[in-house]
Amino acid sequence: MTIANSTELICFLILGAVVVLGSLGVVLLANIVYSAFLLGGVFMAVAGLYLLLNASFVAAAQVLVYVGAVNVLILFAIMLVNKREDLKPIEGLALRRLLSGGVCLGLLALLIRVALTTPWAVPGPAAIGVGATERIGEHLFTDYLLPFELASVLLLMAMIGAIVLARRDVLEADVGTGDAVNQVLVEKPQTPLLIDKSTS
C-alpha cells in the first residue's frame, strides 16, 4: 500500500507547493472568481495529502464535501452577490496590512517553533493502512456514536437555518397567532418587506 520513499517526497513537495501557492492566490488575487477556483485546487491538493497519509476515506470525503459542495456553494454565492463595486479607500490600510502581517508571521514563528522543538512520539504504532475505512466505521458506531448523531442534528439545523435566512419573502400573518404582521428592516424601514400579491 505504501509507495516508494522518493516518490512520496516528490508528491509531498508538489502538493505542498500547490497548497501554499493556491492559498496565497485565494487570499491575494483581485478577482474573486479566480480565488474560488483556486480554492477548489487547494482542496484537491489537501485531498492528495490525505492520500499520502494513507487515509483514502477522508480524502474521498474531502473531495465530495469540499470540492463538490462547499466550493460550488461559494461559486453560487459569488454569482448571487456579483455586483461590480468600487471599494472606498480607507485610511491606514497599508499600516493595517503590515500590522496584521506581523501578527501572522509571529503566529507562524510560534507554530514552527512548537512543531520543531516538541519531542513527538514517532514512530507510533504501525499504520493500519487499507483497513482505515473499517476502523473509522467502528469508531463512528461505538465510541463516537454520540458526536455522530449530534453531527446529523447539526446538519439538519444548518439546513433549516440556511433556508430561513436566505428566504426572500416573509409571511403575511404570524404563524402562531394569525395576526397580520409586517416586519420592517431596521436598516431600510422604507422598503416594504411584504410582497404585494394583489398586483401580480
Partner: protein, 109 residues
C-alpha cells in the same frame, strides 16, 4: 514495505505546511474586504487544522486513527458553517447591497 511513519517525509513537514496554510488563512480573514473571501479564508484555516489531525493520526496514532474520525467531524461542521455563512451573507447583501466588510458596521460603536 516501508511504513509511512518511517518514510522520507517527517511529521514536522506536515505540521509546517499546516502552520503556513493556517497563517495565510488568518491573514486573509483579517484583511479581506469581500465577505465571500472571508468565508474562503475560514475554509483554508479549517483545512490546515484537518491536515494537522490527519498527520498526527497517521504518524502517532496509526492503529486507532482517531484523528481521521475527528477530521470527518470537522468536515461535517465546515459544510454546515459554509451553508449558514453564505445564507447570512445573502441576507446581509439584501439589506446593505454590498459585500464590503467595512460597511457592515451596524454594531460598531
Amino acid at each position: 514495505m516501508p511504513e509511512p511513519s518511517s518514510g522520507l517525509v517527517p511529521l514536522q513537514a506536515f505540521l509546517l505546511l499546516a502552520a503556513l496554510l493556517f497563517c495565510i488563512g488568518v491573514w486573509g480573514l483579517i484583511n479581506s474586504r469581500n465577505a465571500v473571501r472571508v468565508l474562503m479564508s475560514i475554509e483554508l484555516m479549517l483545512n490546515a487544522v484537518n491536515i494537522n489531525l490527519m498527520a498526527f493520526s497517521s504518524y502517532i496514532d496509526g492503529d486507532l486513527i482517531r484523528g481521521q474520525v475527528f477530521a470527518v467531524f470537522v468536515i461535517t461542521v465546515a459544510a454546515a458553517e459554509a451553508a449558514v455563512g453564505l445564507a447570512i451573507l445573502l441576507s446581509l447583501y439584501r439589506n446593505r447591497v454590498t459585500v464590503d466588510m467595512e460597511r457592515f458596521n451596524l454594531l460598531r460603536w
